[in-house]
């Protein structure tokens, strides 16, 4: 039962996140194109205010030492610094984002909206992940 509630809570958070993303049209190739053409402030406002809200939340959590609902201290870890991987992988991810208009969350949302398109994206993403698994040790990090 506890496990079920745990799973359900993540699904609910996913539904919340996907609803906002879809209502804001951040899942749309058209909005992403406008962003990369610098022709619309919408996506920049969206990302900027999301980052600002998140940063402010993190500051409040730290400042007031806010605990989780399970009374544990909240730790925020940094991802390892691997500039070659961050930049190289970032550029490759960006190419995919620019081409398809989808990043990871919109990929899953489009799987629900239009499964034929979504399944192509997902199969591709899993193939790409597998390829990274093969090449990982040969790539600069």
């Amino acid at each position: 039962m506890k496990k079920l509630i745990n799973i359900a809570s993540f699904i609910l958070l996913g539904i919340y996140f996907a609803t906002v993303l879809t209502e804001a049209q951040a899942i749309s190739w058209y909005r992403i194109q406008e962003m990369f053409y610098f022709k619309s402030f919408h996506m920049y406002g969206l990302l900027g205010s999301a980052i600002a809200t998140s940063a402010l939340s993190l500051w409040i959590i730290k400042k007031f030492n806010i605990k989780s609902v399970n009374h544990n201290p909240i730790e925020v870890k940094d991802k390892p610094f691997q500039w070659k991987a961050n930049l190289g992988g970032g550029i490759i991810f960006g190419l995919g984002w620019g081409l398809t208009g989808a990043c990871s969350a919109p990929l899953f949302i489009s799987l629900g909206i239009n499964w034929k398109i979504g399944i192509l994206l997902l199969i591709g993403a899993l193939a790409g992940t597998y390829l990274y698994g093969i090449l990982k040790d040969k790539l600069p990090h």
Partner: protein, 165 residues
Amino acid sequence: MKNEPLAWYIAGPLIGLIVPALLILKEKQFGISSSYRFLLSGFTKKLGYFNYNREQDAWQFYFAIGLVLTGLFYNWNGYDLNALKTTVGSVKFYAPTSGFYDLSNWAIFLFGGVLIGFGSRYSNGCTAGHCIMGMSQFSLTSFIATIGFFIGGLFATYFIIPYLF
């Protein structure tokens, strides 16, 4: 269906709130693309990268189920991705007027998906984990990754997309 997007100054903060929500409710740092690794490790453990403690990423898979369910809900309500082609600026979309989301563009989606999967795993995060989570931590790692996202995105937009249609 309405074509006006929810205003950024409402949607943006609502997006940002996912970070404290996940931390306070679930003690998790926001990210999504580790779900690819989680999914694959369910099928293969031959490669070292997939032979790991996959339970740590299981939650991202559950989160992704919520994303898919939301998409299904919009689908049932007749949501059409191609209906979003109205532009707020003066962008010339290269996709045919019938819409970008067409199976004739299958190669773009499939190959783009490969880039999304490979790139997000190589850079150790995507727009969620780097752009939103990492940037709000003022992490140099995520700043570099985000610059990469934009270099790739701009290149695709100016130098690839125009030649695909």
